[in-house]
Point group: C2
Chain length 239, copies 2
């Protein structure tokens, strides 16, 4: 477990359990702690030179978020999705993003939100040749901005309920310029459709986008790479 | 506060905080504790002859569910929705029920789920002349069954996030045979549309159903009745 680029003292005012949860969340969503891998409360406490209590509390809060599985008599593991869970997450993502698009099209604040999306795509296009990690983060931010455009706290909260897992799952996707460029192209098409009030067109772009991601994720589950061999695979529905 | 029909000893094995939370949830969703009314940790503890700790813990868990507001330096209140919150809840309800309908139409288990809905409507029709409270509960159960038919744990969990508040809000609706009969009629139309795979038809029935409820709720906020005068009303967007 590589902790070189985290500094637990950065969040000075937060309680220790919150700092530890933040650190572990970063480790999981970045892929430094691979999906399905076992995590040890004791070794984390030793590494960080803190007591086990805040580590245990952090793990409990990550369990509530669905990022770790605490299995009695076995241990604590980074969540390792099965194909059914991937299908359910992608289906829910489509429900929420598709609803957000419909709401955005009728919003009084449409222009402001569209401008946020336009700015995001401009930044991502710049990052594409320079910093793939930044481009990747801008991709995540694009979808979050779309959800926030709904201005519905219940919809935003529901997306939050799947977003950390979604973010962690992205470590299974090919991390290439080609894929990020394709995503960027779809984001541009989406903005054009929203501007023209073409809700159906926008929804079908989102549908295709999410279907692509789902297919790539399901394929990856059947072909674990390197340290990802711990992922439980029950065989894909779509195989 | 009338506690005649609750028996805290019924849930023998649950921790005290869970029993108290269950009791308060029942009081709120049934309307015995009106929306917006203040609740006192101390008087609940005294009435139940228990210490304040489990009462405080129960109130915290109801705050997470959105059923109570804990306002520092002021007190604890049953949630008192403003028009914006009602609009957001109804919008989210439409997003989730509409998505569930679409998923149900393509489900391998469609027949089983439709049978559950048919049985519910049959029971509700029987209850209509005998027991309006039972009919009301069957109405709630119909919509929950529709959501469960999605078989998507994330969608079901999101609905759970609004369902207690939805249930509590129903105390603002006219509690009449006429309204329940109208709901029953819409449920029958919905089942017919699902059977015919008419997703758009089914979705527009749900849309009309939820729009009616929303309109009634917004109207009620502007015209508080009896003990409901504590509701904060910022004036309805739709007025």
């Amino acid at each position: 477990m590589n902790r070189t680029n985290l500094n637990i003292l950065d969040m000075k005012v937060a309680p220790l359990r919150v700092k530890v949860a933040h650190m572990l969340r970063e480790e999981i969503t970045s892929g430094r702690l691979p999906l399905g891998s076992q995590i040890s409360e004791q070794s984390i406490a030793e590494d960080l030179q803190i007591s086990r209590t805040p580590v245990r509390e952090a793990i409990m809060s990550l369990a509530v978020e669905g990022l770790v599985d605490v299995r009695p008599q076995s241990g604590t593991y980074v969540f390792g999705p099965d194909p059914d869970e991937i299908v359910s997450i992608c289906q829910m993502r489509l429900v929420l993003e598709s609803a957000a698009l419909k709401i955005l099209a009728k919003s009084d604040h449409k222009e402001i939100f569209v401008q946020t999306l336009v700015d995001n795509v401009r930044q991502a296009a710049k990052a594409l040749s320079v910093n793939l990690e930044e481009c990747h983060q801008l991709d995540t931010a694009f979808h979050r901005a779309l959800i926030e455009a709904s201005e519905n706290p219940f919809l935003i909260q529901s997306y939050h309920g799947i977003s950390n897992r979604l973010h962690a799952l992205r470590q299974l996707l090919p991390f290439t310029k080609t894929r990020l460029n394709a995503a960027l192209k779809q984001h541009r098409q989406l903005i054009a459709a929203i501007k023209q009030n073409d809700i159906k067109g926008a929804q079908s772009i989102i549908e295709e986008h999410i279907a692509n991601v789902e297919a790539m994720l399901l394929e990856r589950l059947d072909k674990p790479r390197g340290s990802h061999t711990v992922i439980r695979s029950r065989g894909s529905k779509r195989a």
